[in-house]
Symmetry: C2
Subunit: 161 residues, 2 copies
DNA sequence: TCTATTTGGTTGCTTTTGTGACAATCTTTT
DNA sequence: AAAAGATTGTCACAAAAGCAACCAAATAGA
């Protein structure tokens, strides 16, 4: 038991969890986004919108944002750009004329199918690389984080980005 | 055993690891960045620069970027802004006049000390919230990821953001 | 029913990031 | 040494993200 009076707890950036998490996320995202960027020239909001619609079929812009954690302006722009590409079309809701139901066109669905497969392969490959143990730890750690901020989520920061 | 021919492996966005990782990182970062943004009006590149200099003392811009995973333009701008704030000063290197050695002023060091403490507390609190198990899993998962992309890092994507 | 409030979505503006080119300086090669 | 190549840091421009105001339509309240 040393008489070790620490004047300053040193902060080691590379050990600091928020930093590590960010770096990991960027690192992985960069790799995966190559898949949809190089091939299709999609941005991340566009990819997320595509993924959400592919997963659920028709959805409103708000629902997309909710599900994919994007601010509504991001969704709005992504929808516009996917529409221009003719991967998505808008269907008006007769009951509530503020909203539109968005759905993928056959071309959009085709791209989705391809990208969903790439995503799946990417993840499989990642887990192989991490090893059974590493993959399990990562998933468990993420689950713990998600449980934590699900509890914490204030009504003021519900879904947005 | 059903004759369930899956035409399409469905992609569940909220289960997709890159998405989860991003969301987790943003979620945590948002919380922590509040600490340095509200109080000091720092951006993340500025915080990382401060943290690196606080950790190591004088360093060049390149070394900062290397250590904190930031592109050199980010470092350049962060350095400029910290200098304007008089938290950092540049010292020329007589041996190599391309570089400058950057170090914190007393004011910068003071802010660093405070922020380092906040960071430390933040992490401690986080681990408490995650529980012993969750914290351990998260750290192990991050370590596995880091080991993976350390192996993978091509000479073309060394340090940059 | 008429007004006030909320909700869904878009647009414009500002700030932040990403990219490529550049000037200056060092290093290597011939 | 001179030429070619690398490295350091900055700048200008383009793309993306964040913010707040806004319109239109629905809902709630008096």
């Amino acid at each position: 038991m040393t008489n070790n009076t620490l004047e300053r707890a040193p902060l080691i950036l590379e050990d600091f969890t928020p930093y590590r998490l960010n770096k990991a996320a960027e690192s992985i995202s960069r790799r995966f986004s190559g898949q949809y960027r190089e091939r299709y020239g999609l941005t991340r909001p566009e990819w997320r919108t595509l993924a959400t619609l592919g997963q659920f079929g028709a959805r409103t812009a708000t629902a997309i944002g909710m599900h994919s954690s994007m601010h509504k302006t991001k969704v709005s722009r992504a929808v516009f750009s996917l529409e221009k590409r003719r991967w998505l079309r808008r269907c008006r809701d007769e009951a509530d004329r503020r909203t539109e139901h968005l759905e993928l066109t056959p071309a959009g669905l085709k791209a989705y199918d391809h990208l969903a497969k790439l995503a799946h392969d990417f993840e499989t490959e990642l887990f192989v690389r991490l090893g059974e143990r590493g993959a399990r730890d990562l998933k468990a750690g993420l689950a713990a984080l998600e449980a934590y901020y699900r509890r914490q989520s204030t009504p003021s920061s519900p879904d947005d980005d």
